[in-house]
Symmetry: C2
Subunit: 366 residues, 2 copies
């Protein structure tokens, strides 16, 4: 609630009953004029329409609104609710670390939602999508073991990101794999496809068969790892937000290249995206003086991601479908025996679609 206001020609100062005081430039007031938006919420004016000579001549309280008179004759009519909403300092940004619940292996319970509940109950679906937003992942259980089903899971919240691997890809042992994921080797903690720009934001792994020994999945909260690195080795953290490494994947069908940092931060210094994938880092070169410091930071990042206390272990059983934020959660797998069958189907999607579905379901992630 607005308790007090005062103005000068160049600005309006508002005091709210929660103690907040907001000062708004007359340019901001022109730019945010509710009359400058179409009914669909889109802005009809551009920054070029602002009058840089305009000043505030008078401000009147009118019921639930403020009428601002400019010295150019123009009036801006602001409902107080609009003003209160629009002048919040922190715009929504549900991608960034600050809005997430970070976790460690030893005190984290993997969020699990049954597929039938997910399909039939709004609350269950919301809970599952909110878990991806907040914790970075959810395990859907009892998903039919039908090839292609993983695409139907995506269609419940977003769109399939088709790639050179297809709309979906099979993770099973093949001879002479173009990608080591399709062998029975263990894989260290990694995010998928750092060589792809834009990187897919959501990954799904749907288990159709798992009869092997080994082949467990380890999952690590990369935002937690980044937060710890920042606390324990701020200089290494800073270096990894700055230096971009080249990544590459190349076979007969595709030649994908990117150049991106391990850790991306926003203008508030919050982590918004992390990456790690030792397999696909292309040869890179730095000035000699920077090489050792960079390798130190790189090693500290890899060590943090491999810290046993950060990981949870999940053995995917037939019918399990893991949905996770590929810009945050690292996955790894242990090696497995060559004998039995293990067949996962994976697919990619994007976070914006998942968040959109979550927002429309009326619940903000915590």
């Amino acid at each position: 609630m607005l308790t007090h206001f005062e103005f000068e020609p160049d600005s309006l100062t508002l005091a709210w009953n929660d103690g907040r005081v907001t000062r708004l430039d007359v340019l901001w007031l022109q730019d945010h004029d509710p009359a400058g938006r179409h009914g669909n919420g889109q802005r009809l004016i551009s920054v070029l329409d602002l009058d840089w000579q305009a000043g505030i001549r008078a401000v009147e309280r009118q019921g639930d609104g403020l009428m601002i008179h400019l010295n150019t004759g123009r009036q801006l009519n602001y409902p107080l609710a609009t003003l209160a909403r629009d002048c919040q300092m922190t715009p929504e940004d549900d991608r960034c670390q600050s809005g997430k619940t970070l976790w460690c292996g030893n005190d984290f319970q993997l969020p699990v939602v049954g597929w039938q509940d997910y399909l039939s109950k709004d609350d269950s679906r919301r809970q599952a999508l909110a878990a991806v937003a907040d914790n970075g992942l959810v395990l859907l259980r009892g998903v039919p073991c039908k090839p292609g089903q993983v695409l139907e899971v995506i269609e419940t919240f977003g769109f399939v990101r088709e790639t050179n691997y297809g709309r979906l890809f099979d993770v099973q042992t093949v001879v002479s794999p173009s990608n080591l994921a399709f062998s029975n080797l263990g894989l260290g903690p990694h995010t998928d496809n750092p060589y792809r720009d834009p990187v897919p934001g959501v990954q799904l792994l749907h288990c159709l068969v798992n009869e092997v020994e080994g082949g467990e999945n380890l999952l690590v909260d990369g935002f937690q790892a980044a937060a710890r690195l920042q606390t324990e080795h701020p200089d290494a953290f800073e270096l990894l937000t700055r230096v971009r490494l080249p990544y590459r994947f190349s076979d007969e069908q595709a030649d994908l290249r990117s150049r991106v940092p391990f850790i991306e931060t926003d203008d508030g210094g919050w982590v918004i995206k992390v990456r790690y994938n030792n397999r696909s880092i292309a040869p890179f070169m730095l000035p000699f003086e920077e090489q050792r410091a960079f390798y130190r930071a790189y090693r500290l990042w890899a060590e943090m991601l491999s810290a046993p206390e950060l990981a949870i272990t999940v053995r995917l059983e037939a019918g399990d479908c893991l949905v996770f934020d590929n810009t945050r959660v690292m996955h790894a797998r242990t090696a497995f025996t060559d004998g039995g069958r293990r067949h996962l189907q994976g697919a990619y999607s994007d976070l914006d679609g998942l968040y959109s579905t979550l927002y429309l379901s009326g619940v903000k992630p915590c």
Copy 2:
């Protein structure tokens, strides 16, 4: 060609016949060991496998290679060609400004490729894709005026990015449009979908019918505009690379939100992505002291993008399909009469797929 080398325990220094001198930390040498890569090019070792105690004991030239003996007993066997390639200072990055030919309206000829040539001649297809990489756009002419054809164009170089607008969207006048693009209003220079994260890197506009007066497209090289802004107003440029604005698109089917800067730069300070779309910037707030400086920079950016000398004008005729880099090229359109028919179909794809097709066709963009 290697002309000279010398080493110390912690590093190897190489002198090449082009005058280049490269110094490599023993950690770099271990990390780039050719024996540490699988036949498919993927790295088998991780940074955790490097030996921080290892030093160089001896280096021998052996034919076309160098054999590096570490004091741990390990040997690294480098073909000289591999060394020469891997220790280049600048890794490939075809997204960034430095590799592009920037253009202005008055001295730029829109690259045009005929659809039949594109389909039947490797050179024509390469030329078209290289134009998108280098200039940010190409006009394909004579593309069949068949609804859905735009998706077939995408399938020649990449994958369709499906969104809430569908696999493709129709740009024609509708009553009560959820997006002003679907009205007959003029639209200022903009990139599409800044509220989507990741933003689609490639946009296509395929003209099926154009019988209206007006409705011309203006195209602007956003990398050129950013370069000029950097030269003329370096402080404004810097501010726009740093401050992130919230964007939002919301209707009954979707609620999409992002928080991104107008201009993104890489670790070398080169522009890699630009954005502008006055319609979808959500309400935003900055500390009062920063508001005026930000509005000034924002206005300068909008003015630069609207500078008539930067734009080229294209009237899309039936059968024309414009393919452009939506992280670089701004498009605008003039208003058009309500009477005649104008029907475009648009669709999105991603740059990595387009670049991959270009690389595989054996030609690097200039």
